[in-house]
Amino acid sequence: MKVVFLLCALCSVAAVAAICIFLFARGVPAIAEIGPLKFIFGTKWKPTQQLFGILPMIVGSIYVTAGAMVIGAPIGILTAVFLYKYCPVKVYRFVKPAVNLLAGIPSIVYGFFALVVIVPIMQILSDTSGKGMLTASIVLGLMILPTIISTTESALKSADISYFEGSLALGATKERSIFASVFPAARSGILSGIILGVGRAIGETMAVVMIIGNQTVFPKTIFSGIRTMTANIVLEMAYAEGLHLDALIATAVVLFVFIMIINLSFSCIKGNEMKQGVKNK
């Protein structure tokens, strides 16, 4: 039986290894051919003229992800606080499944919703086409809510209740007890929720590509359109050939490196807890 478990465990490792090999085997030679500096710091993306600079897209991915965090993280964390200590049981029965449902909605549905609802609203507010960074940030902020809410809530719940009660007993208000004594205890859980949210936001594709405009220029305002790395890949994959195709795979390599950095920082934060966990075993 042990062998079966081992084989199953190897499946996912093998999948990651296969993806790594494919990406780097095709992407790295392409980066070398274009020139690493020209590729990462190039500001012009014009495949027909053999110009492959992805800096605008790297900037785009970072801006949009940051925007999503600014919108999603506070709402998510405060929702978790509500669910943790303020929510009546009857409301909880309604809110919790609603949050979980939000996680289950396919991203293309988010994209279409944003295209027909949020884009027209942004048109009126900003006097532009309505597609751009802010629109994408709002939608991504909504999409990462479930991740942040559930991770934060479980982190708050797993913190020792005596911190909260002790603080209340000393005369602190409920808010102060949560923010000043429970939050520090649950810090690593909350942070890892945020990092998972960043990972989800930077990797999101289908919703973003429909509402962000996809221009390969640096944005001037928060309403300007921009292209993310994921959008670049999905936009041009169908028709690309030759070096153009390899450049798209190279874009995926850069994205992959970003995701690895995010996951590494996640492991670092989780590292201490894991060590403790192993000791307790």
Binding site: K46, P47, T48, L115, V116, V119, P120, Q123, I124, L125, S126, D127, T128, S129, G130, K131, E175, V209, M210, G213, N214, Q215, T216, V217, G225, R227, V234, L235, E236, A238, Y239, A240, E241, H244
Partner: protein
């Protein structure tokens, strides 16, 4: 805490109020003005290649929005008063307004008689030797009167033919790959062909023109579909047949007061030399 929240909310309301007041700048006679939202297809798309070539555009305006789907293009134009885009004539809907180009309306008739110049060929490409009997027979069907009638029914423009097709009774499998624009009409043609020859099975993959040509050259499929003319490198190994002609329609929002543009104006809009509708209305 509550005071803080109340202040933030008040500020937000005030801001929204200010923004919505400051943004009614339409002309008084009701004609369109404001910055043009240019929407284009992605680099490498057959529709974009044809559009750029026909209007002699060297480089699409870099602030143009890019989309990879016809449906997103239509929804965006339908929802934005100041947008302009282009789609295949076969896929236009009532949600958008089709502009006349150089005074000629974009209709199938005008494409066929050559007055509407913004059109391109739909091609099927194959290897001259090594094409299976059943695939050859299918090509014969497509280029017959029966096949071309279906092309017209699908909203595209037929090519001239006076061949009649007789069911051959062949059986086997035909696989097609390529353009997402040609794919839908090819599927309808294959279904009709299979009704005449019940022993035939087919398989259509919509992967894009260039990918379709590559897999035909590699032998992964029998026939490749392209919504553009073949490149020289592809012509070395492939033979092509034009099965239909498709117009490219320039579309704007239904509320737009502009009814027609010259090809010069369209070129200037898509290269970023004209950026405001008021430059055109005058």
């Amino acid at each position: 805490m509550k005071k803080l929240i109340a202040t933030v909310l008040m500020a937000a309301m005030l801001l929204t109020g200010l923004v919505s007041c400051s943004n009614s700048n339409d002309n008084q006679d009701g004609s369109i003005s404001g910055e043009i939202t240019v929407i284009s297809r992605e680099e490498g798309s057959g529709t974009r290649d044809a559009f750029v070539e026909l209007f002699e555009i060297e480089e699409i305006y870099e602030v143009a929005e890019i989309t990879e789907k016809t449906s997103v293009m239509l929804t965006s134009v339908a929802g934005n008063k100041r947008a302009i885009g282009y789609v295949s004539l076969g896929s236009i809907s009532d949600e958008v307004k089709v502009l006349a180009v150089d005074g000629v309306n974009a209709t199938a008739e005008n494409v066929k008689n050559g007055t509407y110049k913004v059109s391109r060929n739909f091609n099927l490409a194959y290897k001259e030797n090594g094409l299976s009997e059943v695939a050859k027979d299918f090509l014969k069907f497509v280029l017959s009167e029966e096949g071309q009638k279906i092309v017209e029914e699908e909203g595209y423009i037929s090519v001239d033919t006076n061949e009649k097709y007789k069911a051959s009774g062949l059986s086997g499998k035909i696989s097609l790959a390529g353009s997402t624009s040609v794919g839908p009409v090819a599927e309808v043609l294959l279904e009709a062909y299979c009704e005449l020859n019940p022993g035939v099975e087919f398989d259509v993959q919509q992967t894009g023109s260039s990918a379709g040509m590559t897999s035909t050259i590699e032998g992964a499929c029998d026939i490749g579909m392209a919504s553009r003319n073949l490149k020289d490198s592809e012509k070395e190994t492939l033979t092509s047949a034009t099965i239909a002609v498709d117009g490219i329609a320039v579309v704007v929002n239904v509320e737009n007061t502009v009814e027609a543009l010259t090809s010069e104006q369209i070129k200037n809009i898509f290269t970023g030399e004209i950026t405001d509708w008021s430059e055109i209305v005058e």
